[in-house]
Amino acid sequence: MPRQKELPELPIDDSPADAEALRVIGVPRRRVDARAKVTGQTRFADDISLPRMAYCKLLRSPHPHARIQKIDASRALAQPGVYLVLTGRDLPISYGILPVSQDEQALCSDRVRYVGDPVAAVVAREELTALEALDLIDVQYELLTTISDPHQALVTPEPRIHDSGEEGNIHKRVALEFGNVEEGFAEADEVFEDTFFYQGSTHLAIEQHAALAVKDPEGKLTIWSSTQVPHYLHRALAKVLEMPPAHIRVIATPNGGGFGGKSDPFSHEMVVAKAALLLDRPVKICLSREEVFYCHRGRHPVLMKFKTGVKRDGSITALQLQTLMDGGAYGSYGVASTFYTGALQTTTYRIPRYRFQGCRTFTNKPPCGPKRGHATVQPRFGQEIQLDKIAERLGIDPAELRLRIVESSNVLTANFLTLGTVGLADCIRRVVKVSGWTGKFRKLPEGYGAGLACSAYLTGAALPIYWNNLPHSGVQLKLDRGGGVTVFCGASEIGQGSDDVLAAIVAEVLGIDTFDIRVYSGDTDLGPVDLGSYSSRVTLMAGNAALQAAERAKAMLAEAVSNRLAVDQHRLEFADKYVFDRVAPEQRVTFQEAICLAEAQFGTIGAVGSYTPPKSPAAYKGSGVGPSPTYSYTAAVVEVAVDPATGWITVPKVWIAHDIGRALNPPLVRGQIEGGVYMGLGEALMEEQEFRRLPKKLSHALVHKFPSMLEYKSPTSLEMPEVVTELVEDPDPRGPFGAKEVGQGPLLPVMPAVANAVYDAVGVRIDEVPITPEKILKALAEKKAGHDPRFGPSHFPPIHWPEALRVPPPWDGGDGHAVNDPRHPGKASSEKEKAPAS
């Protein structure tokens, strides 16, 4: 088997402090915004009201696919209290989160593409007036054939949902090959082929999307919005409104949950901005829960085929993965999502040769996009179940199998991802120990089972969504004579605790309390750019920027204090709101005095810091998706109880170990992990973004099956099992104080661990989610009839794949370039041609 190329060890001397000396970092602590949250004083977007504020409502398409022939808003406009009706003509410029998919229009002008696509907007004095006026807008549609799923999309090139896709209703196809996969399969003792289906699900953040726009007294635009990506919204607004970005202020209000669902620029944001400018009065919109289901951008339904060659000892000789994605009606993050279905397979286990083929189709459904774990969740589900099958066939314990093939720290993978610290083996050992795995697996009584699965996730995408060579995150500090420190950063607080991360890092460096710090975040006027709360990037990227800014401020203070105390700077310690001589601690000044000394010496004290991820060695087209400064790792054991008579499945307990690098604030880290487990259990057992056809005698339209929280089932406090959380802390020098991500990774192993546990419990494979009692019963019936004891897809449709870009892996002498890039024969793809990341 080819050997992995070892990367040089990174220097770790830069580590700002050792664990013993840390006073804030790693200490369980009330988060800086906790008091606001428990007193109900956190101001979410819909909590803001302004004098003269008008209300906006959107008219949405009742048809999944139709041409708009005529819109007549005269009856609506005649209503008392209606100020304005907007249609596509008022907002003609298209936008989209990715530069390659500028396929959305705030209000559709000629075509609607899913039930719920916005067609017109009413702005009125009262919300009720706006709502009633929607019924008075007359729209004539010419119905078009509905494309309802990827299989239909593949065989129905016309009518095209978008002309911008590759061909017909295929949005994007990718094919990449790293090493000779066929050779790998020939070398294998066994080759496994399995097909899996991962159903789509939605974020279901409890806060509905809301936005409030106002033309400020100077005539510029300010918009408050529940967005995870104020910077990208800023750019989209500038484009759509044809305004200089300098005249637009985006304030991302704290999000009442995001999970990826507030990461696109949305119609309603464009509409209220336009309306506020036209009317010169504040305009607010808050989407109904039904509309939030239509905004979606959630988990792509993905059909997957895994072909894996293994040696008898469990080592993998080659992997081939094919994915077919239901993208919904717009591009959204879809190009990146397509690459993500194939990007991270190599980050957990040693895979010497890898071929990936992915295809995203357009369908007449709400657009899919990034949900927690983005599109790495679906293939992780397939890979971890297949490993369970491999382990069984080879007669190796699934935990032992994984320990044999687990990837090492600081290596370059077959697809040129640079791994940081890899704590997966520790995670597996910890979770095996605390769960009592060896006493449970294949040993529990019939109907009870235990399953194990692992995963990896990015700690921030190494490439921005639009090509630029600028920092990904910036932090500005202001140090006040009164001893206070103010942190300005564009990062958006979506509940994950990003404000607390910033405050904690600054407090640690300057030796003060987080309570002495005020954080202004998510405001494009006040803070330097941070790209947004997506791809688990904020702790590492904004955190490193904060660290740099704080170190720079500290250096100024240290110089001034050194002069005053006549003590060498290197002997100065910043702690407990004092700056003192480490050798003679009574030689000290207060932190406030230190600021004054520095201000007297240097003038006003401020500092900036920024962070740019390291350049990835991958240079092939599509290599922009996958690289990250470092990856987090997780292992989980799930116990299930299955009633063979009813198929009813419950989860009594979950054990999970996460390689966090370092926990900056342990209760917050635990909360992210348990929240990930919770959301994973929802996807594993019940959550479905499902569609159905209305009866023929009605419109026969393809509609969301249940756009309500009552019918879209999610786990309540009654279903949530006990979770035992273990933190594996091996600081990664790439992260601030060694920290890696935790917001997304811990969700990934949960679904496959549930599936593997079901097999352990009743001996049937459920190769798709959600794993419902009905599917378990069907599989049990198959088993009883002597057939293949499984439920899941059996077929992957033929897809005309493009010729794979062939990138020799590092151990075959590859340098990260494709050897057969047709557009650039014999030379590297330029940076710009790396696909956008997210």
Partner: protein
């Protein structure tokens, strides 16, 4: 139908007259007419539990209660939990133990938990699960919420034993 209705109610311990459009729900009156935006909404159909307040001490979904029904009754929202400038032990425990992540479902969970503690001084984990089963939280996985309620019980008991 008159354009505005007027009722007298006790809001967070304070008796007051309130006028509002008669079709409005208690949720709308709290948020829009009284400016008490601590109470949230996630569906306005009685599905998510984010709008819970206490009506005569019992949790109700304020999106399903007409404000007109509240004549002469007592309403407690998250704004009424702190007393004499001090946070309620539930609020303290939620803040300390990471029970509020995004904080959107938190106000409703706090008042619902308060109603539980008012009638069962020392509820067990199952009673807490049951009491909060109508309040969806998408962030926490509930565990830190359960622990915070239990911690609040400990703190309340301590307070009673040694009042300061």
């Amino acid at each position: 139908m008159p354009k505005t209705a007027q009722i007298r109610l006790t809001l967070n311990g304070e008796e007051m007259d309130v006028s509002f459009a008669p079709y409005k729900t208690l949720l709308e009156v709290l948020r829009e007419d009284l400016g008490l935006v601590g109470t949230k909404h996630g569906c306005e159909l009685g599905e998510c539990g984010a709008c819970a307040v206490l009506l005569d001490g019992k949790p109700v979904l304020s999106c399903l209660v007409l404000a007109l029904e509240c004549e002469g009754r007592s309403v407690t929202s998250v704004e009424g939990l702190a007393e004499d400038g001090k946070l309620h032990p539930l609020q303290e425990a939620f803040a300390d133990l990471g029970a509020a992540q995004c904080g959107y479902c938190t106000p409703a969970i706090l008042v619902t938990a308060k109603a539980l503690l008012d009638q069962a001084a020392s509820p067990n984990r199952d009673q807490i699960r049951e009491a909060l089963s109508g309040n969806l939280c998408r962030c926490t996985g509930y565990q830190q919420i359960f622990e915070a309620v239990e911690e609040a019980v400990v703190r309340i008991t301590k307070q009673r034993e040694s009042p300061t």
